[in-house]
């Protein structure tokens, strides 16, 4: 059973420099209770994918130009704005990257949580307040009754992100989209927040789309991973398979740029040098005729320059968009 079905999603922005193909043909399925990771460098279209699902792309700048998003059997493109507003924060909730600025400084924590409950559950303010206190307990904020009356500036970054999670989960959403939820936090707090999200997922059965550029976070939390590059999906696989045998040179590059505790040192006792991926993400306004990763790829052959590889199932439930996937797989082992 599929809860969220994204097919060939294309989102473009119209700028003075030309059309930016921020998301170019992204497809994935999300099952109830699943955790899906979307990884990639800055500007590869992760956040735009998330915003597109909620139809939050500002109409002055960009548009979803193609593809379909079906949630619970309904095509989101056919919903009216009001129906979409009903859905946001209720069935599909979102957590943003910046806990420091994602809460309104002039409203109390309690008001901000209760507001969403009143909006979507159609209950009285009194019971919404009770629900807010319950949620603060659930996200393990000490002394919840008192915190309800406090303002965001009285809370630390980690606590604010807990409040954001409480707001996102207060209406029992089916899908939680977390856009870099831990990027702005200390490493110790990061782990706490991720554990909390996973724990609540188990408890409430919410499916999570976790957007991050941190592969460590993905390894810890996700069941399935999508790797994006320049607006396209380049690899999709179960997390274990992806980390064990990356099939796309970009994924391989990302993994090699990551320090590993289990890596064997060289005989001299030193650690292997971390490898960077040379070059930068290409401008999305002028797509290359071939694969977008070609300029940075050490596996590139003639064919890569000419035609762009489609996503194909290289191994069981392991999709990759690379002509030379078999060579990449060999190199990894």
């Amino acid at each position: 059973m599929t809860l969220l079905e994204v097919r060939d999603l294309r989102t473009q922005f119209f700028t003075a420099d030309g059309v930016v193909r921020a998301v170019d043909g992204v497809s994935f399925d999300l099952s109830p209770g699943e955790t899906l990771g979307i990884v990639g460098e800055s500007g590869c279209g992760k956040s735009v994918t998330a915003l597109s699902i909620l139809r939050l792309i500002a109409p002055e700048t960009g548009r979803i130009v193609g593809g379909s998003i079906r949630f619970d059997g309904r095509d989101l493109a056919t919903l009216s704005n009001e129906e979409m507003r009903e859905l946001r924060g209720h069935k599909i909730a979102m957590i943003f990257q910046e806990p420091m600025t994602s809460l309104n400084p002039v409203l109390t924590i309690g008001t901000q949580i209760a507001e969403s409950v009143v909006r979507h559950m159609r209950v009285s303010w009194r019971s919404a307040r009770d629900r807010a206190r319950e949620m603060l307990e659930l996200v393990r904020i000490a002394d919840p009754a008192q915190r309800l009356a406090e303002y965001p500036h009285q809370l630390s970054g980690g606590m604010r992100q807990r409040v954001m999670i409480a707001i996102a989960l207060c209406c029992n959403p089916r899908v939680l989209i977390a856009d870099e939820p831990t990027t702005a936090l200390d490493v110790t707090i990061q782990a706490q927040i991720l554990d909390l999200m996973l724990e609540l997922k188990e408890k409430l059965g919410t499916a999570i789309i976790l957007i991050t550029h941190d592969l460590g976070v993905v390894a810890e939390t996700c069941e399935r991973v999508i790797v994006m590059y320049a607006g396209r999906m380049v690899e999709q696989a179960p997390a274990a398979a992806l980390f064990a045998r990356p099939l796309h040179p970009y994924t391989r590059g990302l993994l090699r740029a990551l320090p590993r505790a289990d890596a064997d040192g060289d005989p001299a006792g030193g650690r292997p040098r971390l490898m960077e991926i040379p070059g930068i993400v290409p401008a999305l306004t002028r797509p290359l005729p071939g694969c977008a990763f070609v300029p940075r790829c050490s596996f590139a052959v003639e064919r890569c320059h000419a035609t762009s590889p489609a996503l194909m199932e290289a191994e069981a439930s392991h999709l990759v968009a690379c002509w030379e996937a078999s060579r990449v797989a060999e190199a990894a082992t």
């Binding site: 909620l54 939050l56 946001r88 909730a93 979102m94 400084p105 409203l107 969403s116 707001i167």
Partner: protein, 292 residues
């Protein structure tokens, strides 16, 4: 920055009186401005008891210099300048406060709409620019020629060119608040437009709005005095500071008090309002307030 903490730097439990004293010491402008205004308002409210009849003419007492009987002297008709100045304060305060209140309300509504609904922003802002270009004095003269002179006309003539100043401030705040992540967050939570404006954006505009309103209040008082002085303001029989100065002008050399006293009151009042505005700006801006 001293490195040694003295007893004064330590937080302590203070009585309300001591707390008030600390607040005043930290932000004296707000206190001085507010105190002067309170005194002025008290004076206008108590006018019937502390001042005589501002209209009573007594040819025998013409152009008397300040004395025990006439604190601020008399004008060329023998009218008590003190009584006229006290009653004149009423006009200034009514004009200042009502212009500030009405133009804030109108400006707030237009500013919110402009900042939030970007499609109509361009059109409305060009209209505002046009209105801003109209000098209030010319507008007042035109309005008064069309209708009968009166306080209401003067207030309206000052409000119209002041509204765009408020609109600009509110609009710019709305634009910057709109770009804040918590607004995006609220939209992602399914908040409706009206709620977003009323609950999330409006409260953030209040602090700059209040500060701007005090400046509008001060400038309205000055414009009213200017209009009255030119004869385009409140009817000459009503004692307003501008009217008193205008009427005293002819006898300036022998009775300078009938110009200097209302002029001084005007200056002090405007100063007080501006000080209150400056103090509020420091107090309401969290970045400046924290520094104190």
């Amino acid at each position: 920055m001293t490195l040694i903490l003295t007893a004064e730097d330590m937080p302590r439990v203070a009585s309300p009186l001591a707390r008030a004293a600390t607040a005043i010491r930290r932000n004296p402008t707000i206190f001085i401005g507010a105190a002067l205004l309170v005194a002025l308002i008290a004076m206008t409210l108590a006018a019937p008891w502390i001042a005589g009849d501002p209209f009573r003419q007594a040819p025998i007492d013409r152009l008397r210099s300040p004395s025990e009987r006439f604190w601020f002297g008399t004008d060329q008709f023998g009218r008590d300048v003190f009584a006229r100045t006290v009653y004149g304060a009423r006009v200034s305060l009514i004009v200042g406060l009502s212009v500030a209140a009405v133009s804030s309300l109108i400006g707030l509504a237009i500013g919110l709409v402009c900042g939030y609904f970007r499609r109509i922003d361009g059109v409305i802002m060009r209209v505002m620019d046009g209105i801003m270009a109209i000098p209030s004095i010319l507008l007042a003269i035109a309005l008064i020629t069309l209708t009968r002179p009166g306080l209401g006309i003067v207030i309206a003539a000052i409000i119209i060119p002041e509204v765009p100043r408020i609109v600009r401030v509110v609009r710019s705040v709305v634009l910057s608040i709109r770009a804040q992540p918590y607004i995006e967050s609220a939209i992602a939570g399914g908040t409706r437009n009206t709620k977003l404006l009323a609950r999330h954006i409006l409260p953030n505009t209040l602090a700059p709005l209040i500060v701007q309103a005090t400046y509008v209040c001060a400038s309205a008082m000055l414009i009213e005095a200017g209009l009255s002085f030119l004869g385009a303001g409140v009817p000459p029989e009503i004692p307003s500071w501008g009217n008193i100065i205008a009427q005293g002008r002819t006898f300036f050399q022998i009775a300078p008090w009938s110009i200097f006293i209302p002029g001084g009151f005007l200056a002090v009042t405007v100063l007080a309002v501006n000080m209150l505005g400056d103090g509020l700006r420091d107090r309401l801006d969290p970045r400046l307030a924290r520094r104190m």
